[in-house]
Symmetry: C2
Subunit: 372 residues, 2 copies
């Protein structure tokens, strides 16, 4: 962590420097506990997505209070940070193709249970060679493109070929299928999401049938996110879901229709905020001291938690609020709900963890900046 | 810096881990030298904006090769990082209102020449109290709102009142006027920019006249940016310009019409890139390993340097390129020009500095994450 941090344990919220990234521990714990209960009721496993928070402490909480079976993340360097923090079961939900990172993945698989996704026969060969060299075993999930249009294979024949190659390759273990449809997470109606989830589940079932016909057992189907996990679980095609954002919520997910409510932020509490101070007050507007260096803006501006102010501009170091009545004064503090939690967390060295108005702890963003 | 970095000095570019932030040192040095020459020819001072790069090394280069008189930045914690790196003349082009940060600013002013902006009489009193307590002297620029609609005062009467208060307050030094119009930087034609610059210059001249009438000397008028510095310099109303992005360029500034060319990226070389690798190839598309954790997306997606590929999607860890002919192969490396340089630099721990295809140095992003 940086030597210069915005808070110390024991301080009140009013003493925390702004802008800073704050976690409401009570809300976080309730979200995590609720996900554990819902996944258990739905009879599905939950592998929490650590790409969202990049924090060993949040992950440990998800395992302790939410029954998460392990972590998933997107990069080997992230996985290394989780293993260094004591996480024992990891899935890199992404391709790993740089030779140096394939090597580091194989080394990591000697220290924890590690799996990775593949969508190319050459990748299977590279992973096998590295695992053999390190004397480790790497789990392999075949990534299916179920509508995302990014990585992943498109046909059942490719699924079978890759699964067979992984099952036969020295140093590898065929773990199952990865099926994630990012676009589905933010569909504007629960019905549209159910419809898309049905299509995803059909694709997965056909692939599983093709594997069975080829005599290849498929231990685990994993996928889904905060916007779709309910529908994915209900489809019966998945063994574990990979929700991440439910733990923190953000403005973008907040607007998504929930499975049991009009909006997802009625089902999950906002636990993550950027704490900002009013820096300047001018007729009809207030200028806050937090901008794009403290919260990512590509999914839209933040919203103001618990107060009715419209954000009219977001720039590198400022957020401008419309304040027609000039209700705000210099020094007033507001909690902003960032537009998109994942890239926002990655901007900060630490979560300032609050309970009952006091800083209980500073949790490092353990894998901040680790993207290779 | 993080213990996990993407490169070591002496490596070739092909050995640098991706995604990573790379600086073409030759291009950077040519940009910096050119700005020094142009500012000198225009008879105007240049205070390079360190909010863009947050790097002591880049700033030292701007002072050594480009004749920059010092740095400007937006936050006290940034200024502290610059002072720790040996920068002796600093202007915080922003309000500072948190009591703890006013105190740190006053302490810093005991170690370097430090100035700050004000737009509120209460701020003058706070700064004076802190400077007196620390036995230091803080320079004060009155920030004018010249069309940005953010911080800054709107009337000449306010300018005079604040300047007089600063000139009379113990521990403070009235340094002049800050006049920055962010929106002008990206206006779609040079003519529109000249027109706006004329309006800004008129506002500044009226304020200076009001100060003169009140018997208050105005040592320095500072402002302007990469998109407007030429017009601001030509207006004769400014003493120093605060350009930052010219040193690196980005995709967003690249599209702006230049003073001497159709586009600004014809006047300034692209020196900053996010180096990315092809992670997966599918029919008609290639997926790169760099996303929103490595480059900010709120100003639009990156462009591909020197190659004609269209970016069709940018997500947390991926960039999807249209590649109708499937020309790209897994492992191919591309230089991406980020949409917006300032928040992109702030995502990384280090600049990987390249010359003639080799890593010459790793420069820390000295003030990364320092936003209070």
């Amino acid at each position: 962590m940086s030597p210069d941090l915005p808070a110390r344990p024991g301080q009140t919220e009013a003493e925390v420097l702004t802008p800073s990234l704050i976690l409401d521990l009570g809300a976080l714990e309730r979200n995590v506990t609720r996900m554990g209960r819902l996944a258990s009721e739905a009879g599905i496993g939950h592998r929490s997505h650590g790409k969202m928070h990049r924090s060993v402490d949040v992950q440990l909480l998800q395992q302790r209070l939410g029954g998460a079976c392990g972590v998933c993340c997107q990069k080997v360097s992230e996985a290394e940070a989780f293993v260094a923090g004591g996480i024992a079961d990891l899935l890199v939900t992404n391709q790993v193709r740089q030779p140096a990172m394939v090597d580091r993945l194989a080394r990591l698989a000697g220290a924890a249970r590690v799996a990775v996704c593949v969508d190319d026969p050459a990748s299977v060969a590279e992973l096998s060679e590295a695992a053999t060299r390190h004397g480790s075993e790497i789990g392999v999930f075949v990534e299916m493109d179920v509508g995302q249009g990014r990585c992943g294979v498109a046909t059942d024949a490719e699924v079978v070929d890759l699964a067979r190659a992984a099952a036969q390759a020295p140093g590898l273990r065929f773990d199952g299928l990865q099926a994630y449809h990012g676009g589905m997470q933010h569909l504007p109606s629960a019905e549209a999401r159910r419809e898309t989830a049905r299509g995803v589940a059909d694709r997965v079932r056909r692939a599983k049938a093709a594997l069975a016909e080829a005599g290849l057992p498929c231990p685990t189907v994993t996928g889904g996110g905060t916007g779709s996990w309910h529908e994915d679980a209900a489809s019966g095609a998945f063994d574990e879901v990979q929700a991440g954002s439910y733990a923190f919520m953000d403005a973008d997910y907040g607007r998504v229709p929930g499975a049991r409510s009009a909006r997802l932020d009625a089902e999950w509490e906002n636990a993550l905020f950027v704490l900002a101070s009013v820096l300047s007050v001018k007729p009809g507007r207030a200028i806050l001291d937090a901008g794009l260096k403290s919260m990512s803006g590509e999914s839209g501006p933040p919203t103001v938690f618990g107060r009715k102010f419209e954000v009219v501009n977001l720039s590198d170091e400022h957020t401008v609020l419309a304040d027609p009545a000039n209700a705000l004064k210099v020094g007033d503090r507001l909690r902003l709900i960032p537009g998109h939690c994942d890239p926002t967390c990655n901007l900060h060295d630490a979560y300032v963890c609050l309970r009952d108005g006091r800083v209980e702890a500073l949790w490092p963003v353990s894998a901040r900046g680790r993207s290779w």
